[in-house]
């Protein structure tokens, strides 16, 4: 199981890789997680770092053949193997849809432009080598098709294993995830500023935490907003069990595990029209609410759920039915082609 590692950062992609190794082992396969650190800046070093994967020899280990390699996110799929399956979490989006946005990495110099093209060439070649190509969501598959013309089968990963349960539809909205700008937690804080009755718990760590705490202080949200930091599994399951709803509205997210986790705790999810992957599972008025990406719209959506607890429960329960369909048995079968 090949996975590009960003040291000290941990998110859904890391969980996916670790969970898959665990699930493979539980099914009596010998599985090992192979990681290589990846730093994506300066952008002109990306190709060199990717090449590290190409120089690895995973055909055999200690004289024993490695039957299958499963690679996930860029640049782990650059690895060579006669039986390579790619379960694409995401491409190096700075070279694609994030180029020339504030999240982009490449400048306008000839070298930068060509470095970006080199990533495309690398992707086209090494993804085409895969015996099977899966994507974790429609969103990821569509981006791949539109950027490189490569078709991927959609294989949504099951969420992490937690003690999911629903104890109540409490008085707070939960936000779970890494705290960086793309996750757009500030939208929730602005919504709390617009609605004096909204209580929020923000679970997670990340480089945006200081800015978010300053924003909360600026709006005098003390007492209504709690930053818990990273929660352990039990604490996270407990928060899911007690919250009213879950807010999850990153910008054009690949997939996001959070909606499925919320659903397994029978909680509706509030997201936005530009959230990308979450829109594949959050259906407006059926498993949650989909609103415009503005503080007022988010505040209104959450207020509606507060005042309609029966509908909140019904949406959460509908979500649970959807989430329960994703099983590791089916996932492993498709990845292994059995």
């Amino acid at each position: 199981m090949c996975h590009a590692q960003v040291p000290f950062a941990r998110g859904g992609a890391e969980l996916l890789a670790e969970n898959l190794v665990t699930e493979l082992r539980e099914r009596n396969h010998e599985a090992e997680l192979v990681t290589v650190p990846f730093k994506w800046y300066p952008a002109n070093t990306v190709v060199t770092q990717s090449l590290v994967w190409r120089l690895l020899d995973l055909d055999e280990v200690q004289g024993r053949r490695v039957d299958l390699v499963i690679a996930t996110k860029f640049p782990s799929y650059v690895v060579r193997h006669p039986n390579k399956v790619v379960w694409l979490v995401h491409q190096f989006r700075q070279a694609y849809d994030l180029d020339r946005t504030e999240l982009g990495e490449y400048g306008e110099e000839v070298f930068d432009r060509a470095s970006r093209r080199a990533v495309h060439r690398l992707d086209r070649t090494t993804l085409s080598e895969a015996r099977r190509l899966f994507a974790i969501s429609e969103n990821v598959a569509t981006r791949l098709d539109q950027s490189l013309g490569l078709k991927a089968e959609v294989l949504r990963p099951p969420p992490q294993s937690l003690d999911y349960r629903c104890e109540e539809y409490g008085d707070f909205v939960l936000s779970v995830g890494r705290l960086d700008r793309a996750k757009r937690v500030d939208l929730l804080l602005e919504a709390a500023a617009a609605d004096g009755d909204l209580r929020v718990v923000i679970a997670g760590e990340g480089p945006d935490r200081d800015r978010l705490e300053e924003l909360a202080a600026k709006h005098r949200l003390d007492g209504r907003v709690t930053f818990t930091g990273r929660l352990d599994d039990d604490a996270l399951a407990d928060h899911y069990a007690r919250c009213l709803a879950v807010f999850y509205a990153p910008v054009d997210e690949d997939l996001g595990f959070v909606p499925y986790e919320a659903f397994l705790a029978e909680k509706p999810v509030v997201t936005t029209r530009d959230a990308g992957g979450p829109l594949e599972v959050v259906v407006d008025q059926r498993t949650g609410l989909v609103c415009e990406p503005t503080p007022d719209a988010v505040a209104q959506a959450l207020a509606w759920l507060r005042s309609h607890p029966d509908e909140a429960r019904a949406q959460g329960q509908a979500g649970r039915t959807e989430a329960a369909r994703l099983t590791w048995d089916a996932t492993v079968d498709r990845l292994l082609g059995t």
Binding site: R54, A118, R124
Partner: protein, 417 residues
């Protein structure tokens, strides 16, 4: 990125001039393009790369070849056989030595001897019927840092000729058009054939097949639109088939009239043999207007999807197969409609102008910068190796170069858009 752009442009009358006039605005939205003035000897200043459009017409392209030789760059090759261009630049300019060199470059001593025969008037000019056997393309394009072509057929031809630097395939862009049929002829079925009327258009075969169709369907009409080549007796060919009342000829059509004639036709026929590896602007126009096509099963034409074009072999069955194809199209209106819809969809996806312009930008960015990126990667790896005392020429570092080539980033890369 700043690009020097060499191409014939309107009012010059050439398909490549029309092509550039169509492409340039879309390119200029994406990158800084400096169009080189015709016959200018110096390249525009401060450009990162030069793009040279080359075709077979010496009058339109000779100055571009000269500029390209002074400062090689990326070539857009519109014809993979450049014999006419070379002959025009050499023999027609009283520089036979150039022609001898080109033929020797192509076919060794035999080629040189043949060239002598042509120059001395002892042999029939090779460009008349054997250009495809002696394309002379490499003599022109060898210094190119990379070549853009419009079909995979042309790409294969270049590889066969021995070109080893990058080759990119970028389809010809379709024109945005808004023309609707306003047919004035009283005809059950109108078949159109447009473009320069030369021997490669297979006119005797077309007229023969149409005569058979017309015998069964007297209401059918054939429209021939385009100037005939010298030596082609079009009226004589038509009369010989007793088709004077069923064939409508337009020796010249301006652009608006051409579009209208295509719009008014039910079916377009565009036969071709021999092919010089060219893409047909007429076919792309017909696709844009959703017209069912009948083409020869050669070169770029073979790459058209079966849903949009009936492909006729160039062999002893040609006339018979053409007759069958026309009969089927005449008899089945729904079949024509299905093909027409597929043609529009194909033109929108494959021949979309924005897609074409994006591909050009990708090629230009790659052609200028990828060697730098490759060099930087090898420098990084060699630097790390040197810290460990590994010789830069060691087999370990050779392996790194091999891996780079494996992922499409080595110097000998073969490329596709």
């Amino acid at each position: 990125m700043r690009v020097a752009y060499y191409s014939p442009l309107p009012p010059e009358r050439s398909g490549i001039a029309d092509y550039s006039a169509h492409l340039l605005p879309a390119l200029e939205q994406r990158i800084d393009v400096k169009v080189a003035r015709r016959r200018s000897r110096r390249p525009p200043r401060g450009c990162d790369v030069a793009l040279y459009h080359l075709g077979n017409n010496p009058g339109a392209h000779e100055w571009i070849v000269e500029a390209f030789r002074r400062s090689p760059g990326v070539v857009v090759l519109h014809d993979v056989v450049l014999h006419h261009l070379v002959a025009g630049m050499t023999i027609a300019r009283a520089k036979p030595e150039g022609y001898l060199d080109a033929m020797q470059r192509e076919s060794g001593i035999v080629g040189r001897l043949l060239a002598h025969g042509v120059v001395d008037g002892l042999l029939q000019p090779l460009w008349e019927d054997r250009a495809a056997d002696f394309p002379l393309t490499m003599w022109v394009v060898e210094p190119a840092t990379g070549i853009i072509v419009h079909s995979h057929y042309a790409e294969r031809c270049l590889r066969k000729l021995g070109f080893q630097r990058p080759v990119w395939v970028i389809p010809m862009p379709a024109w945005p058009v808004d023309v609707t049929a306003s047919r004035t002829q009283a005809a059950d079925l109108v078949i159109g054939c447009f473009g320069h009327m030369n021997t490669a258009k297979r006119l005797p075969q077309l007229l023969d097949a149409f005569a058979r169709l017309h015998a069964r369907r007297p209401g059918a009409r054939l429209v021939l639109g385009g100037s005939p080549s010298p030596g082609i007796d079009l009226p004589g060919l038509v009369s010989a088939c007793n088709l004077d009342d069923a064939v409508v000829r337009h020796d010249y059509l301006d652009e608006d009239s051409l579009w209208q004639q295509i719009a008014d036709a039910d079916v377009l026929v565009n036969l071709r043999s021999p092919t010089m590896g060219e893409t047909s602007g007429m076919v792309v126009r017909a696709l844009s207007l959703g017209k069912p096509l009948v083409v020869s099963d050669v070169g770029w034409f073979s790459e058209l999807p079966n849903e949009v074009a009936v492909k006729v072999p160039v062999d002893e069955r040609e006339t018979e197969m053409l007759d069958r194809a026309l009969e089927k199209l005449a008899a089945d209106e729904q079949y024509r409609e299905r093909m027409g819809k597929a043609a529009v969809a194909w033109a929108r996806s494959e021949h979309d102008l924005d897609r074409t312009a994006d591909l050009y930008v990708a090629v230009l960015e790659e052609s200028v910068g990828l060697p730098q990126v490759e060099h930087a990667v090898l420098r990084d790896v060699a630097g790390a190796a040197a810290e460990l005392g590994v010789d830069p020429d060691s087999s370990e570092l050779t392996d790194v170069g091999a891996r780079l080539r494996e992922v499409g980033l080595g110097q000998e890369r073969s490329t596709n858009s």
